[in-house]
């Protein structure tokens, strides 16, 4: 009667007033490969955690094979037939590859409590089969922590498969892997799950892969499902294009074109390679920002924009390359020194200090400049600019709207009187009207002569702000051009920015 193996009904979860998921209802037929896509913060991971029991919905239901499984714990859901992978490899690092699989098998067969049976001899053959399936058999005796990153991702997959699931949930199975290995792994996933007709739900940023292997795509934005359909449909859906490209978004006529500015370079990045743990996200990234210039780092989700900015701040230590601020290499310096040397950082994820008031948040960022410097950013001046923050001065940041929190992060960086400002996706997740206000504010900063490195996925947001553009994808700079050139060329836009 019901062909859908998994069905959710209006799943809702809020974190401190922010909707992580909003009335999410999806239905997944048995055997389908389903992709969940959407910008950062769209609620993809939250949905995964709800489906696998790591989070409980505040309202809504999850049905599995017609049975209500809402609120069950992860281990209970696993017993029922859910298996998941983690975005960042999350394996028992001191155990060997084989042991990792064996444990999943022992758990599957209910043998965890056999206190006197030697583990090493349990379900070895079955574990081997799984390892052969994913091509890890040669590495069986290697301790998981010594595996290359790509193989750790394979191990993730193998552990999930070892649970003999009916629904397989893959959280960014290729994230962090070298580019050339990604299609192969995705192909592997595809062949395995097709052979078993295994229902699969995956989150993935690499759009080429998503469109090539999935049957059906669900697009999330700000916690809600905004579009669904077969890949071709989704690709041409106007709503989706708006989210990813900003096409047809707020009109950008009437904006003045950004005039060229060109002083000496303030910030230069040369050959930057960086990543988390063993996975490298950036490969040989080079860019520069000159005095009074707004440079846009344009790219899709997961392209490496955030990691670039974090590496400049020293929050993700660069593995290779130089980052030069006003003639001085800042690689290896502690983050607070990099900030004090003149780089202001506005994170993408609205990282205000939630239990501090607006004024206190500004106080943390405040750094007075030597007397005599022209027009320093004082708290008063910043509040004049971000006038909507003024009445909220003594409110705790936790209780402000997303737009106000975003303004606060910019204001907080400004009062540190930076020489260059790193702005990470300022428009992300904000309502159109707020985005427009924000654009005006950043324009004002530009007019005040502040050098800005702006990361964006929306071309139109950068319009009127930046003169030069770097397009980044898969951790590499794909294109460096002037803004006008890029905007004028449909060819360039399609190659580098289209879905």
């Amino acid at each position: 009667m019901n062909a859908d193996i998994l069905r959710t009904e209006k799943l809702n979860l809020q974190f401190g007033g922010v909707h992580a998921t909003r009335d999410v209802s999806i239905a997944v037929p048995r055997g389908q490969i389903r992709a969940i896509i959407g910008p950062n913060g769209a609620g993809k991971s939250t949905l995964f955690n709800l489906l696998t029991g790591f989070l409980r919905p505040q309202s809504g239901k999850i049905h599995f094979k017609g049975q209500d499984v809402t609120g069950l714990a992860p281990h209970q859901l696993c017993r029922m037939g859910f298996a998941r992978t983690f975005q960042i490899p999350n394996v028992s690092s001191n155990a060997t590859v084989l042991e990792n699989i064996q444990l999943a098998k022992v758990s599957l067969h209910g043998g965890l409590w056999k206190l006197l049976e030697p583990f090493r001899r349990m379900h070895v053959e079955e574990a081997w089969d799984v390892l052969s399936l994913v091509g890890l058999a040669d590495q069986a005796a290697v301790e998981a922590r010594n595996l290359p990153f790509g193989d750790q991702k394979k191990l993730e997959l193998a552990i999930a498969l070892a649970c003999d699931p009916e629904v397989l949930l893959l959280d960014e199975p290729t994230a962090g892997m070298p580019l050339h290995e990604r299609p192969a792994l995705m192909g592997l996933v595809q062949s395995i799950v097709r052979a078993k007709s295994l229902t699969t739900i995956l989150i993935e940023h690499d759009m080429d892969l998503v469109f090539s292997i999935t049957d059906w795509i669900t697009v999330l934005h700000r916690g809600a499902v905004v579009a669904e359909g077969v890949p071709g449909e989704v690709r041409n859906n106007t709503e989706v294009r708006k989210i990813y490209l900003g096409e047809g978004g707020t009109e950008n006529s009437g904006r003045r074109q950004a005039e060229a500015a060109g002083g000496d370079p303030i910030l230069t990045v040369e050959g930057l390679t960086a990543g988390y743990g063993m996975g490298m996200v950036l490969h040989d990234v080079s860019l520069s920002v000159a005095e009074g210039e707004v440079v846009c780092l344009l790219g899709r989700n997961g392209a490496g924009k955030t990691t670039t900015l974090k590496s400049i701040m020293g929050l993700v230590p660069p593995a290779q390359g130089r980052i030069v601020l006003l003639g001085e290499n800042v690689v290896g310096r502690p983050t607070y020194e990099i900030c004090q040397m003149g780089i202001g950082y506005v994170p993408e994820d609205r990282r205000i200090f939630p239990d501090l008031t607006v004024m206190e948040n500004l106080e943390v960022g405040r750094r007075d400049v030597a007397a005599g410097q022209a027009a320093p950013w004082t708290v008063d001046r910043v509040l004049d600019l971000f006038s909507s923050l003024k009445p909220l001065r003594h409110q705790r940041a936790r209780f402000m709207s997303g737009g106000e929190q975003r303004m606060l992060t910019i204001a907080r960086a400004l009062v540190g009187n930076p020489k260059v400002l790193l702005l990470d996706e300022p428009s992300e997740g904000l309502a159109p009207l707020v985005v427009e206000t924000l654009w005006e504010h950043i324009r004002a900063l530009k007019e005040a002569g502040l050098a800005i490195l702006l990361s964006e996925q929306n071309l139109w947001f950068a319009s009127g702000l930046s003169t030069r553009v770097y397009v980044i994808d898969k951790g590499q700079i794909q294109l460096s051009s002037t803004f006008a050139e890029l905007e004028a060329s449909p060819e360039l836009k399609r190659t580098h920015l289209a879905l």
């Binding site: 701040m313 929050l315 502690p334 983050t335 607070y336 900030c339 004090q340 950082y345 994170p347 990282r351 200090f353 939630p354 239990d355 501090l356 206190e360 948040n361 106080e363 943390v364 960022g365 750094r367 907080r412 960086a413 540190g416």
Partner: protein, 290 residues
């Protein structure tokens, strides 16, 4: 009769809450900012008590000397704390919890034997309780010193509140405890901040030690007894919340003081029952962040 007993217990509950609060707020501060469990916190308390004892021994057992000790000893323990943070504790900030524990245990052992070497095994007393005289409320007579202790802790609590909520330094401390990475990205030098937090907290522990010595004397067992009670306060009040520490300290002081009337042998049982209850209802403590 019943009234006098209740009154007496009420006052002694407040006095014990004072020490618990001074200890727990420091522990909580260090954990919130530096992210280490300062197991050796009780050792600074004990050092405070012994140092106060020494000051009154060397100078005189007069009120003036005691006031002097009240001023100087917390400074001394704070200095020692800062020194130990710089040469020892900070080297273990990045380590895992188990390795972090080792210098702490070592400090407890070393300070304990050091104290035994300097002050001997027999408890030291500072006989200034009588010098403060007594206070009569209704029909009850209390040592006036009790009120000095409560008053002093209220002053400290107010000062701490001011420092944490109203000064730039306090804002930086709170920022660091909420988001270390972001506060570094805002240019906050955490190395220095951590040393200062550690010094402040160990100073408070020293102060608690000085305040305690006229009542309970200085002894070698007081380090761990005190720190364990402070742990209970922190668990009940919630790690990282100074307000939680204060309310939990008063709550536990009361439960303890009245528990002793009901089951004198097992007064601690009530405190632990309270803690167990809190853990069931709110595993992160009454005011802890989830």
């Amino acid at each position: 009769m019943a009234f006098s007993v209740i009154g007496l217990q009420l006052v002694s509950a407040l006095v014990s809450a004072t020490f618990l609060f001074l200890m727990a707020s420091g522990l909580s501060l260090i954990f919130g900012v530096c992210r280490v469990l300062n197991l050796a916190h009780g050792s600074f308390f004990m050092l405070g008590a012994f140092l106060a004892y020494s000051v009154t021994q060397v100078v005189s057992s007069s009120l003036e000397t005691f006031w002097l000790a009240l001023l100087l000893v917390p400074l001394a323990t704070a200095l020692l704390g800062a020194l130990l943070e710089i040469v020892l504790i900070r080297r273990f900030y990045g380590a895992n919890l188990l390795v972090q524990l080792m210098p702490m245990v070592a400090l407890i052992y070393i300070i304990s034997d050091f104290s035994r070497f300097v002050w001997g095994v027999s408890p030291g007393s500072v006989p200034v309780l009588g010098l403060f005289g007594t206070v009569s409320i209704l029909d009850l007579t209390f040592p006036a010193y009790y009120f000095v202790v409560v008053l002093a802790s209220m002053v400290v609590a107010a000062g701490l509140w001011f420092l944490i909520t109203r000064t730039r330094w306090g804002i930086l401390v709170r920022a660091a405890s909420q988001d270390r990475e972001m506060s570094a990205a805002c240019g906050v030098n955490q190395t220095r901040l951590f040393t200062m937090v550690y010094a402040l907290a160990t100073g408070l522990a020293g102060l608690a030690g000085v305040l305690a010595v006229p009542i309970s004397g200085a002894s070698l067992e007081m380090d761990m007894t005190t720190v364990v009670n402070a742990f209970v306060v922190v668990v009940v009040g919630g790690m990282g919340s100074v307000l939680g520490s204060m309310l939990a300290a008063i709550l536990i002081g009361l439960v303890n003081a009245f528990g002793i009337l009901v089951l004198p042998q097992f007064e601690m049982t009530f405190v632990y029952a309270l803690m167990a209850l809190v853990l069931i209802v709110r595993p992160t403590g009454l005011f802890g962040r989830g």
